[in-house]
Subunit: 453 residues, 2 copies
C-alpha cells in the first residue's frame, strides 16, 4: 500500500477563477442561431431567461473569470473535493495501472451539479431575481438548484418528469427539504402542461416537456428566470473547478495522467475535469489521451452527426451546432438518467471535431459490473452515470494487465448512487437490459433535424 | 464570514491509537454478570461470539490501544473527517454562539459506524473467522458491517427487523451491493425465527429477535462470529477517533468548547466524540459541559434506572449495569431508529452516574425542525439521530442570543439522512407524532427487570 489514499487540499486552495477554454482553441466554436431568422443570436435574445452576468460568461472571450467571494464561501461547504488513488480497485483488477478518481459526491446534493447551481443562484439573486424555474429528470439537477436557492434566498419551482416523480420520490423529498416547490411534468400549472395532459392524461412526461414548462413559467415573469444544469458554455465553465483542483492534486503527488476518462451526458462533468488538462496539453506541458464515455443507447458522439439542432425536444431553443441524435430522439430507459440527452454540449462537440478527444459507448451491464467491483473495493457506491467512466477505466486497467504498462489513469466520480440503489438491485438480479445500438431510431430522428447551411 | 468553514486534517493526522477512558476514571465500571450464576463473566464466556483481540479490548486497562495498519489503511478512505464551523446556521439563528460540528457522514456507509465495523471485521479475519452475523434495525449498522466485510473478504449474514426490511429497501440494497446476505427477521433460517413465525406469521419483528437470530447462527459455527454495532466497551473505544480528530481540529483553529453535545442511542457516537474531551477535562486542561441528548420516547438516561439488566429483549445476554427502561420496553415508533434502544452503554451510564455528564430528552418534531433549518443553511441533510443533537445545539444558541453569551458549542453530525427522507416528508406534511413521555410503560417494563444485589 502506498503512502497516501486520498490527496486533499486546504480550503484556501479552492480555485479562485473559472477557466474558459474558448480563447485557447485553434478555432472558435460556431455560434448559436436564432430558430426563426437563422442568424447568430445576441445577448438580448437570452435576456428573458438568464441574468446578464451569466449571458456574458456564455459568450466570454476571457481565459479566466473570477469566482465571486460569495460563491467561494458556499463552495467551502464541500470543496476542495478529494482525489483518490484507487489502490484497492487496482489490487482487485491485478493491474499495473495507477488509477485516480476525483470524487464530487461529497457535495450536499451528492454530485458535481452544485458547482454551477451555486453561481447560477448567486448571479440571479444579485440581479434582483426572486424566483428560478427549472426542469429535472431523475432529480440530480433539481436538488442541486434547490440547495443553491436555499443559500441565496430564492424561490424555486421545479418541473420533474412524471415517471421519475412517481418512481423515485427521494430526490423530490430532498428538493422540498431545501424549500423548493416540485411539480410532476406535465402539470396543470402551465399552458404547455395542460395541453399535453388534455391529449394524454397518463403521459409519463419527458425532459423536453419539462423544459417547456419551466421556460413558459419564467419568460413572461419579470421576477423569474430559468436555469439549466448542463450543455451551455457557462455551465461547463463553472465545472472547471473540478479539473483545476485535480491538476493541483496530481502535481502534489508527482503524477501525470496518461489517460483522462469522463462520462458524457450533456457534457458538463466531462468538461469540468478535462478542460484544465486540455489547456496544459495545448501548452505542450502534458500529453494525456482524453476519452469520453457515453451510454450505448444514447451515443451522441459515436453515432450522432455534427450539425445544427434544437436543444430541446419540442424545438423552442436556439439552434446549436453539436453532435446530435435528433432533437426528438427518445433514448431507451437506461438507469443512467443523467446521460439520456439527445445532444452533446456544443463546446465539447466542437473540441471533439477538432480531433482532441476520443469517444467510446458502453452498455449498462458492463457499467454496473464495474460499479459493483468499485463499491466492494473502494467503498463508495457510484451513481450510474460515472459507472460509465469506471467501466472504461476498468477496460484500460485490464489492457494494462495484459501489456504490462503502468499507465496513469484519471477519472471523475461525479456523484454517489444513494438514490439509484434500485438500479443496482435490478443489475444484481440479472434484470438489466443492454439495448441495441439505436441505428434505425437515430436515422429516423435525424430525418427531422432542420437543414442549416 | 470568517476565514474558514471547515477544518481539515491530512490523512497522516488520523489518530494511530484508540483511547480507553476506563483507567482515567475515578472508579471502575461494575463488571458484566453471567445471567445464570450472577458472577462476573470472564473472557472465555464471550469466546463463542467474539475473537480474542476484541474480548481483550473489551476488558483492557490500557489507556491507548494501537490501531493496526490494515485498519488505518481503510480508515483513509474517508478519515480524517471534516470539522465544520456552522457560520450559516449561526446567521439564521442570529446567535453570538459559535457552533462547530464534526461530520461522520462522509464514510462510504454514511455514518460513524464504519469506525468500528472496520476493526471488528479486521480482527475477525485475522483470527481466521470466515463469516460474521449481525442484526440491524433501519440498516445503518448492517450496511457499515457489509462494507467492512467486503474489505476483509468475510461473508456476512444480516438479520434485519422485518418492518424496516419491508419499508426501507435501500439499506438492504446497499448491503447486497457490498456482498452481504440479508434476511428479514424473524426468518425461516433459524430456530428462533421459525418458532416466532409459527406463533405469528405477520409479526413486524424486533431488534431483540434479530439479535437472537444472529447469535444463534454464529455461536455453534466454529467459522462464524457475531458483531455488535454499539453499547460494548470495544465499540465505544473504536469510535474515539472522532473525538481525537476533533480535539486536533479545534486546537488547530484555537477554539475550546464550552459545551459538547451528542445524541445517545446505544452511546457509541456520543462516547466517540466526548471521551477524548473528557480525558482533557479530567486532566484539568479544559472544562466543557457535556450533554447527552436522547429521544423523549426512549429516555434511558433521564427516565431509566441505573441497575443490572439484559442487553437484549429476550434476556440471552450477560447482565450489565446500565441506565435502562427495562429489557422488554418497546419504544414508540419514532423515526430516529438508531436511538430506539432500551438501555445505555454501561460505560456511558457509569460516567453519567459519576456526575460527569448532563442529559436531556427532546421530542422528534423539535428535532426535525432543527434538521430542516440546518439543511437549508449548512446544506447537509442530517440523519434523524443527530438531529437530536442539533436540536439541543439550537436551543443553546437561542439561549445565547437572549443572554448575549458567545459560547463555543461542539456537536457530532454522525450521519446523513439520505435513506430517511420519507421521515422528513412526514415532518413537512405535519404528520409526525410527539409521543408522550412513557412513564407508565417504563414502570411496567421495569417491573420485569431481574433484581441483582
Amino acid at each position: 500500500m502506498s503512502d497516501y489514499t486520498k490527496v486533499t487540499l486546504d480550503e484556501s486552495e479552492i480555485p479562485t477563477q473559472w477557466y474558459n477554454i474558448i480563447p485557447d482553441l485553434p478555432a472558435p466554436p460556431p455560434p448559436p442561431l436564432h430558430p426563426a431568422t437563422r442568424e447568430p443570436i445576441g445577448p438580448e435574445d437570452l435576456a428573458p431567461l438568464f441574468p446578464m452576468d451569466l449571458i456574458l460568461q456564455e459568450v466570454s472571450q476571457e481565459s479566466y473569470i473570477d469566482i465571486p467571494g460569495e460563491v467561494l464561501d458556499v463552495y467551502k461547504l464541500w470543496r476542495p473535493t478529494p482525489l483518490y488513488r484507487a489502490h484497492r480497485l487496482e489490487k482487485v483488477l491485478d493491474t499495473p495501472a495507477r488509477i485516480f478518481y476525483k470524487y464530487e459526491g461529497v457535495s450536499p446534493a451528492g454530485s458535481h451539479k452544485p458547482n454551477t447551481s451555486i453561481p447560477q443562484a448567486y448571479y440571479n439573486a444579485k440581479a434582483g431575481v426572486k424566483k428560478l424555474t427549472t426542469e429535472t429528470g431523475a432529480g440530480q439537477w433539481g436538488s442541486a438548484l434547490a440547495f443553491a436557492c436555499a443559500q441565496f434566498g430564492l424561490d424555486l419551482e421545479v418541473w420533474q418528469v412524471r415517471s421519475s416523480y412517481d418512481q423515485k420520490p427521494d430526490r423530490q423529498r430532498m428538493m422540498r427539504i431545501w424549500g423548493a416547490e416540485v411539480h410532476p411534468s406535465p402539470s396543470e400549472n402551465t399552458e404547455a402542461g395542460r395541453q399535453i395532459l388534455a391529449l394524454d392524461p397518463n403521459t409519463p412526461g419527458s425532459l423536453g416537456i419539462a423544459i417547456s414548462e419551466g421556460v413558459m413559467r419564467a419568460a413572461p415573469d419579470p421576477d423569474a428566470k430559468y436555469a439549466l444544469g448542463s450543455v451551455l458554455n457557462h455551465v461547463l465553465l463553472h465545472q472547471t473547478v473540478i479539473g483545476e483542483e485535480a491538476l493541483k492534486q496530481m502535481e502534489k503527488v508527482g503524477e501525470t495522467p496518461d489517460l483522462l476518462i469522463g462520462c458524457t451526458g450533456g457534457g458538463s462533468n466531462f468538461a469540468g475535469l478535462s478542460f484544465p488538462f486540455l489547456r496544459e496539453k495545448l501548452a505542450g506541458k502534458i500529453n494525456p489521451t482524453i476519452r469520453c464515455v457515453e451510454p450505448a443507447s444514447c451515443p451522441s458522439l459515436t453515432k450522432g452527426e455534427y450539425r445544427y439542432d434544437f436543444g430541446d425536444t419540442i424545438g423552442m431553443t436556439p439552434l446549436v451546432k453539436m453532435h446530435t441524435l435528433g432533437h426528438d430522439f427518445i433514448p431507451d430507459p437506461i438507469h443512467a438518467g443523467g446521460l439520456r440527452y439527445h445532444g452533446m454540449a456544443p463546446l465539447v462537440s466542437h473540441i471533439y471535431e477538432l480531433g482532441m478527444l476520443e469517444a467510446v459507448a458502453i452498455h449498462q451491464n458492463e457499467c454496473f459490473s464495474a460499479a459493483v467491483k468499485f463499491a466492494r473495493s473502494e467503498g463508495i457506491v457510484p451513481a450510474p452515470e460515472p459507472s460509465h467512466a469506471l467501466a472504461a477505466a476498468v477496460r484500460e486497467a485490464v489492457r494494462c494487465r495484459e501489456t504490462g504498462e503502468s499507465k496513469t489513469i484519471l477519472t471523475a466520480l461525479c456523484g454517489h448512487g444513494h438514490f439509484d440503489l434500485s438500479s443496482y438491485e435490478a443489475y444484481l438480479n440479472g434484470d438489466l437490459v443492454d439495448y441495441d445500438y439505436p441505428d434505425a431510431k437515430v436515422a429516423d430522428a435525424m430525418s427531422r433535424v432542420p437543414v442549416v447551411d
